[in-house]
Symmetry: C2
Subunit: 820 residues, 2 copies
């Protein structure tokens, strides 16, 4: 740290910046009127008049009202819903083309096979290629990355617009191929990107400075909107996104998320009505189970068995997917060959899966001709297949006919299709295209549930109940519960129960479904980490896993290991010259203020605009100063506000130096601060009132610059949240995310020793992840969190005195006089 | 602050404590074996062997496993559900008695009237009297107080066991009277009490120290369980409780709440099945609306109109209730008379309401003979009353017949009943009995919805839709949406939508209901604060309203205004004598450690057991010390843990001084610390090994006490979160609640200046509430939170330098040499 004395020595130690330090009075001071808003903008953006076509009133209205949160939320919801609906059309087109070619070639089985295989292979190859070229970050589901970003890590390029485009096009093609892939997880990603990009637009239009600390909040809302736009499930979508991405929720954001998700789900279901597809708004997978006597109490046992099976299956699915992805990213010769020839692997996988599902071939045993949607509709239907498919008056309009086979029983075809879907999904997910594993798990779970339901229907004989009505088992309800359980267990969430209620439009099976999901989660969580956590581990994402306070941290990374130590600061005796140099060379948004260079006691921090205003005031001509004083005395109170609006402002642009004419006479509301490298801009229409600055002004300025800064009218933020050198990384992550901080100063026994911004935090997290294996704490673990553990370490950060005092102290220190 | 030098002068300044300062070696040192766990217990509780009947293994098992969180949650859920179910029986008994007497006296109208009026009056009077005598805090709903406690305020005696008893008995009687009162809000309170009391039991059994910071979390879970046990709605209950009580939610607690609420709702619905009341588990208000084509798109307009009406009605209801409660608590002569004669007011109100609902009288126009439950069942039924009640083959088994009147149309009776219920509810809620306003609002909303639905059914003609089926309007669905809207709007929540889905077992009307709730909330929130906030204002509860960071604080209460200034601390040169005196006189759980008395630089805090162990080590006899060293060398690492387990421990009991025999020779695992007022206890079976201490030991002890404390083996918590003198109250509340703190030190430029514990915080909040009117920020306000507002104050706490440095600094300070 150079300190106060370093304002002369800075030229040597920062050669790159030294051009800015020439005190040449010949430099051009280009003046421009700087409004209030621009005053607060980060450097490089101010001075731009964004709405030249608008009147000032219009601009103000736009900034104040149109870009309010709720407008953005509605926009986000509508855009996401529209994207989802449009994608459905694209997917339908792909699926339809395959089926159409398949039917056209009905005379020749080979041609049929060619049609059945070629279109999916082409689509998947296009998807993989497009994704690779436009936005490689779009491959996969995107939820692991969203989780990482929300928890404080950073994934480069994950929320950019080209990733959005790649995700949209790639996903449409991938799903259009008919492979067992999901739309839901990518839509979490899409919703997240839309939210962040819309917020970026709004902050740009509103002239507010962008805050990194808002990103987690935006991502959670975006995720909720994404799921709602996919399943038409506002509440379930919101809860799922909170559970999967966040570790806490502000009730304020709950309102926002609820609102946006509802709008999104509504628009997503409204668009098909408007396009004439439906008569009215219906759930995506509408069910018609009976409302009276939905289930017998003894059936809860079957549901629990289904829960156990789903849990086991999802743990195995996670294991299998993990193994596949590890193999593909591995070091074997085959893996390297696949990595080199990018399109071979997806083409191969698609070829194999399409061959397996070929309806005249093996596909006849596993309902291969059905799309994912049709499969789900069949699983959720209201019949008991074991009796329904053998009936004489069999209605061939529903999809369950696909499981009817002349030679084998429906139980066999059902089992085959579930097992095959299981393995096909595990393999398909590992393709480098935008795709999710949620829906495949959902479909497998639904199949498993249908199987358990059909068996239960045979095992439990229907009894005569109230009103002398016989109520049989509804196997479809098992399919619904199984879908929720399997998708919940593989992602370690419980809100999937809520999603299926909204998805099917029925909530009668609330207790069986929730129990099923709970049991499945317990089984799965005790066997495997969640799918997303597995992928986080494999991809080595900077996921801060040790977030829980109760667990003693495994890595002992502390603030002092990653904080920004070489920090520039102001002290009470700093001169205006030092301040000017500081503003010109440092891009920080706030500067720390210490008591003195010797004591380094942190007093607080001052925002850049405040300092710019201080410097401008000091450098403004006495005449202007007097005028300024008059104005401020007239208006009386609220002087500090005036400072940043009516008073002359000083704006700096580092790295930019122009020589030319000097303008110094200043109009009332503007400012003469034509300094060496400081470029102050003024509107063109006011330029003619400015005249050239004389030599004595330069001298006067030099004099002014040597004065000590008067901080009395300066607002100082007392830096309420300070970090200590020995604060552990998990605690820092927690403090940053809970308090919504962008930066925090580090003090040691009251002295400023460093700064931690989100950048430092990202790097620290990445560093820890590189060294240690990620150990994740799924929610149920923390739910089962043992009270006994609290007993051992009440203050996990407690340290020994020698560590706390560092080298300067110790046993010997105590005998010495205190250094005060 | 007396500081280090004050250990002699303390006798003068703290006369009450001076008895503890006599260094008389004649004092009794009663010894007792102190285990590891007790070592961490707060003073006054240690040394008690809680499970004498258990083996050490059994005790450990109990502490580690049986009292795990999930066990407590199951216990909480089952107990609350059972209480709710048992209460239903009590209520039924009360209602049945009234009706039975009414029917027995069918020959004489006067006798009928007497029966109809007397039982309710008696029940309400008993309820009011019992509540007043057993637990006055039980009166009212309890949610305002829960809100206050969760947000950081303190309400005395609100979570005690006698309040629970008063609430249970009082509520049963109040609801048994048939008055328009609710069960839901009091059950939030009951669930909260159960959660806190069970946790207290668990911490006692587990030997963990109780943490105040856990209370909010427990209350939210308890509230969720309470609502779930009342409505059988786990998800809605959880969301509602989060929304109404908390301002943020940890996902960890979401799991806990979800789990507990599900178990609770399930048990609540299972108990009627077990008792033979139902065949299987059903929703509380089971509906049977059609699943295909639930509503026409144009009906959304009607739902929005219903939303507006509900919003207006709920705002008026809140206003009316507020006016009534204000009048009752007011200063008028009548109000004073009522306050003096406690039972007159409830008796009067009950008499008037019972008279109005008397079925042969005015009650015939407002379905007066129906209970609240029957009324709701009727409102939610599947008929269109305007046509159904005029049909010839009219089925008299359902409750809608109550609105059939020979002379006036069903629209008139419906309107009368809604209006009458509205006014009766507003008055009834103000009675000093345990009761809630949620259910009354719910019933009014249902009635309003039925009215709008019936009108819509007349206005919108049924069209022919898909499959050539005519789908008419379902007025019952309007009743459901209206109930959600009215209850949501009066409490400013949106999760009521979720509650009605679970309550009716149908989710087909998800979009109309959510929109209706949203519209109603918007209308209501722009007109009135929520019901709970109104009551908080009237009762002047210490509710910290200015929690939002974005709003500039209205009261400028800062940490320095309420922190504990007269703080005792340790410094690096403190002697053991000073430490002993400190432990004897102060009850704090942790003590601050500063660098030196002059600098006052805060190094961190040390826990009491650590200090007790330090002192014990110093005062243990050299022979024992050697033995202790041997033991610790044998076991190698983890010495600090050993400190608190195997090594001799020192326990202090302030305010207690006994003189008698001296015991000093110490067994290996016990401790000789027979000091003046320090009472150290030892098991009886080890007492006989102790012999009397000689004079030279006393001298040696005195010598030991004069040594400086060796903090080297002491774990020091670096106090990662420190408050500044200028931190504002809202921010402190936020930091405490988000970080789950129990206390935080206040530093000014690195120097320790004070301490804030939850006690100080409570007092500060109370103080602010007394001075300022409470201004509450309902969720929608923060949801609509204007982006523009952020622009004005980016750092709302920013202050001026002179304030920051206090008197010691200022403009003049800058010229002086720094005080370092």
């Amino acid at each position: 740290m150079t300190g106060e004395a370093g304002d002369k020595g800075a030229q040597q130690c920062q050669p790159l910046m030294s051009v800015c330090y020439t005190d040449d009075p010949e430099d051009e001071g280009q003046l421009k009127k700087v409004g209030t808003e621009q005053n607060k903008s980060p450097p490089g953006r101010f001075g731009r008049n964004k709405f030249r076509f608008l009147s000032p009133q219009g601009e103000k209205f736009l900034a104040l009202h149109v870009m309010e949160d709720w407008m953005i939320l509605v926009l986000l919801a509508v855009i996401t819903a529209f994207l989802s609906w449009a994608m459905e059309y694209g997917i339908e087109l792909g699926l339809h083309t395959t089926l159409w070619l398949f039917e056209v070639a009905h005379s020749n089985v080979f041609l049929q096979y060619l049609a059945w295989v070629s279109i999916p292979v082409l689509l998947i190859c296009f998807s993989a290629g497009f994704t690779y070229l436009v936005g490689p970050q779009a491959a996969g589901s995107g939820i692991p990355e969203i989780k990482t970003i929300v928890k404080g890590g950073m994934v480069k390029d994950h929320l950019s617009l080209n990733t959005l485009v790649a995700k949209l096009v790639g996903l449409t093609c991938a799903l259009g191929s008919g492979m067992p892939l999901g739309k839901e997880s990518p839509f979490v990603h899409i919703g997240g990107i839309c939210a962040v990009q819309l917020n970026r637009l709004a902050t740009f239009l509103g002239g507010v400075k962008e805050r990194d600390s808002l990103t987690p909040e935006l991502l959670v809302i975006g995720s909720a909107v994404g799921i709602a736009a996919c399943f038409g499930s506002p509440v379930g979508g919101l809860l799922y996104s909170i559970e999967v991405a966040s570790s806490f929720l502000m009730v304020k954001n709950y309102w926002k998320g609820y609102f946006a998700a509802t709008i999104s789900a509504f628009v997503f279901r409204l668009l098909p009505v408007w396009s004439g597809q439906f008569e009215t708004i219906t759930p995506l997978f509408h069910t018609n189970y009976r409302l009276e006597f939905p289930y017998e109490l003894s059936e809860l046992l079957s549901f629990c068995i289904l829960g156990v099976l789903s849990g086991l299956a999802s743990a195995f699915l996670v294991f299998l997917t993990g193994t596949m992805v590890r193999f593909i990213r591995g070091q074997s010769r085959f893996a390297k060959f696949l990595a080199k020839t990018r399109l071979v692997y997806p083409a191969l996988v698609t070829f194999v899966i399409a061959t397996l599902t070929f309806p005249p071939g093996f596909g006849q045993f596993m309902a291969g001709e059905l799309t994912q949607r049709e499969t789900l509709e069949a699983f959720f239907d209201n019949y008991t297949w074991s009796t329904h498919l053998t009936e004489d008056h069999f209605d061939h309009s529903d999809h369950s006919v696909a499981w009817k086979h002349p030679y084998v029983s429906v139980f066999v075809t059902l089992t085959i299709s579930v097992v095959m879907k299981f393995f096909m999904s595990a393999v398909a997910i590992s393709m480098p295209v935008p795709c999710g594993a949620f829906v495949p798990a959902f479909v497998i779970g639904a199949g498993l549930g249908r199987l358990v339901g059909e068996v239960t229907a045979v095992v439990i004989p229907p009894g005569v109940h109230a009103n002398a009505t016989t109520y049989a088992v509804v196997p479809g309800s098992y399919a619904v519960a199984g879908a929720a359980a399997m998708s919940g267990a593989s992602t370690h969430t419980i809100s999937t129960a809520m999603i299926v209620f909204e998805l099917t439009g029925q909530i009668s099976y609330i207790f069986p479904t929730i129990f099923c999901v709970f049991v499945a989660n317990m089984v799965s969580q005790s066997l495997q980490p969640s799918l997303y956590e597995t992928l986080i581990r494999i991809r080595k994402l900077p996921y801060p896993s040790e977030l829980s306070w109760d667990h003693p941290p495994k890595s002992n990374v502390q603030v002092k290991d990653f904080m920004l130590k070489d920090l520039r600061y102001l002290n009470l005796r700093s001169t205006y010259r030092y301040l000017r140099d500081l503003l010109l060379t440092d891009n920080l948004k706030t500067f720390p203020l210490v008591k003195s260079t010797e004591s380094m006691i942190l007093l607080g921090s001052v925002e850049r605009p405040q300092l710019e205003s201080l410097l401008a005031q000091q450098l403004s001509h006495p005449r202007v100063k007097e005028l300024g004083k008059q104005t401020s005395t007239d208006s009386g109170e609220d002087e500090s506000q005036k400072d940043s609006s009516d008073k002359p402002s000083f704006s700096t642009k580092p790295h930019k130096k122009e020589r030319g004419s000097q303008d110094s006479q200043v109009p009332l509301k503007s400012l003469a601060c034509a300094d060496s490298a400081a470029v102050v801009e003024v509107d063109i229409d006011e330029k003619d009132t400015l005249t050239t600055k004389g030599v004595q002004t330069v001298e006067w300025e030099e004099q002014q610059l040597d004065e000590q800064i008067n901080f009395n009218n300066c607002k100082i933020d007392p830096a309420s949240i300070q970090l200590m050198e020995h604060t552990s990384l998990p605690k820092v992550i927690n403090i940053f995310s809970m308090m919504g901080l962008d930066q925090a100063y580090v003090t040691s026994v009251g002295q400023l020793v460093g700064l931690v911004t989100r950048q430092e935090l990202y790097k620290a997290i990445e560093g820890v992840v590189k060294v240690h294996e990620i150990t994740t704490h799924p929610p149920l673990t923390s739910f089962r969190d043992n009270r006994g553990s609290r007993r051992v370490t009440d203050t996990p950060e407690a340290t020994e005195l020698t560590h706390l005092l560092g080298d300067e102290s110790g046993p010997s220190h105590r005998a010495e006089p205190d250094d005060q």
